[in-house]
């Protein structure tokens, strides 16, 4: 176990010190009439409250039974599904679609990682890593459905032309699905490509600060990236497949989504 760099009380004291710096920025903004004071104050108070609330919950969860992790994952997936569904308004029953996709993508990945022991069965690993995987799957899902919805709408005539030539709905919308999958995975792939060159990613930074061995920190960061990529890919494939089923009738007709 790594030694804590901060004692809790000492930590709060240091937090107060950074707030002084923030106060200086607010004064500076006022002096220069930049008009960002209100937003800075609101954001700071909100961020402080939210993170402290999370810390309290985590303190409680870390000491609870492991079964609670399922409840937490359930809430996370529902919230992620709800957020993502706002991007897929054009589809029928979007909440059901996004929640299912994230559940499948993040669920399969997390189960494999837990069963193989890559994620230790300990709350302090299960909760943050689960959140990371579910959160990224949510972003992938939103990007894919947003792109698919608008591409299908703007390419109705091409899809209709393909259907008229005897293509199935899957064949007719393949170019749009392909574009949606690529577009939604590009941020994750680009992150993976530039890993360690442009930025030292969060987990590795955290582990290094906590005094972990750099090789171990790098390996763990890579595992997390692969987890995010796998979960995201499965989510996107599921979401685009389900969206195709909603956008077309069983008779291979493009449903009017206007």
């Amino acid at each position: 176990m790594v030694e804590y760099l901060f004692e809790p009380i000492d930590g709060l004291f240091k937090l107060a010190l950074t707030l002084i710096l923030l106060a200086v920025i607010i004064l500076l903004s006022r002096y220069r009439k930049l008009d960002i004071e209100e937003e800075l104050i609101v954001a700071t108070v909100r961020g402080f409250m939210q993170l402290m609330f999370l810390a309290l919950i985590l303190t409680f969860i870390f000491e609870s039974h492991l079964v609670l992790v399922l409840v937490v994952y359930g809430v996370m997936i529902l919230m992620a599904g709800y957020t993502s569904s706002k991007r897929a308004k054009k589809l029928k029953a979007p909440l059901e679609l996004t929640t299912t996709s994230i559940l499948v993508g993040a669920g399969i990945t997390l189960i494999i990682m837990i069963l193989t022991g890559i994620i230790p069965l300990r709350m302090e690993f299960l909760i943050p890593l689960g959140g990371m995987v579910i959160g990224n799957s949510m972003i992938n899902c939103s990007l894919a459905l947003d792109r698919l919805g608008s591409d299908i709408q703007s390419n109705r005539n091409k899809i209709e032309a393909a259907l008229s030539l005897g293509a199935t709905s899957e064949q007719a919308s393949l170019p749009q699905v392909r574009a949606a999958v690529r577009a939604s995975l590009i941020p994750t792939i680009d992150n993976l490509k530039t890993l360690g060159i442009i930025l030292i990613p969060g987990t590795m930074t955290g582990l290094l600060i906590a005094g972990a061995d750099p090789i171990w920190a790098a390996s763990y960061q890579l595992i997390i990236f692969f987890m995010i990529l796998c979960a995201g890919s499965i989510t996107i494939i599921t979401a685009t497949y389900l969206a195709q089923q909603k956008l077309f009738s069983k008779k291979h007709q493009l449903i009017d989504i206007n």
Partner: protein
């Protein structure tokens, strides 16, 4: 080959977003004939066309093709027998060849002969084959769209204002091509247009659609009697006011 091919609509209705787009439409089009459907925009012409190849599902009534209700036929198979050419040609990514062979590839039936025959019938030369489809003029793209449909050897052709974006000279050439195709291939054609003069030039049968209702349908000679051949007279005669 096509003696049995004809299209029958029997009391067909379609509602979209609370509006009646097609209202109790009935007609019977004999095989190997061109039916010109005319009417103002929003009268339901495009919807009517798309119900025939089942891109749009009707709410009531029956559409018969080959004497069988289309609801009893596989939509994919039926679309392979019915070519559709839209107002704005929708070109797929890639070359003219890739566009023309698209439908053939779906059925694993690609052959160079089929592509060349379709290309010739659409009055395009082989030098077009390797050109990027999206770089062609609208008139050329419209011919590629025709060739793409012809490659599947359809028995019915649905044309949705195919000359709307073309100038008058190219329009006349296009009309001649289609009439020639009707003769050599024995195609049955439904041709949607908002141009009365064009309907008179191409239609063996004419249907007049207004607010979703087929107000008149019959042989062109009856809809456009000889005395009212002139465009203005036809309008004064009251057959086609909009």
């Amino acid at each position: 080959m096509t003696s049995h091919t004809h299209i029958v609509m029997d009391r067909v209705s379609k509602h979209l977003r609370g509006r009646t787009v097609l209202n109790n439409i009935s007609f019977s089009l004999p095989a190997g004939k061109i039916m010109a459907v005319i009417g103002p925009s929003g009268s339901g012409k495009s919807t009517l066309l798309r119900t025939i190849n089942r891109l749009i599902e009707i709410d009531s009534g029956t559409i018969f093709i080959y004497h069988t209700s289309i609801k009893k036929q596989n939509p994919i198979r039926i679309r392979r027998k019915i070519g559709l050419v839209a107002q704005t040609p929708a070109m797929f990514e890639g070359t003219v060849l890739e566009n023309i062979r698209y439908g053939l590839d779906l059925q694993n039936k690609y052959s160079k002969q089929a592509v060349l025959k379709a290309l010739r019938d659409a009055e395009l030369t082989t030098e077009f084959l390797y050109r990027k489809a999206s770089n062609l003029s609208v008139g050329e793209q419209q011919r590629v769209a025709i060739a793409r449909a012809l490659a599947l050897e359809p028995e019915i052709l649905l044309l949705d204002e195919p000359t709307a974006a073309l100038d008058s000279k190219i329009t006349r050439r296009f009309e001649a091509t289609i009439k020639h195709l009707k003769d050599v291939r024995g195609l049955t054609i439904v041709w949607v247009t908002h141009d009365l003069a064009q309907a008179r030039r191409v239609g063996d049968y004419v249907g007049i659609l207004k607010r979703g209702k087929l107000e008149q349908f019959g042989p062109a000679s009856k809809i456009f009697p000889a005395a009212t051949k002139d465009h203005d007279k036809a309008k004064r005669g009251g057959c086609c006011k909009w």
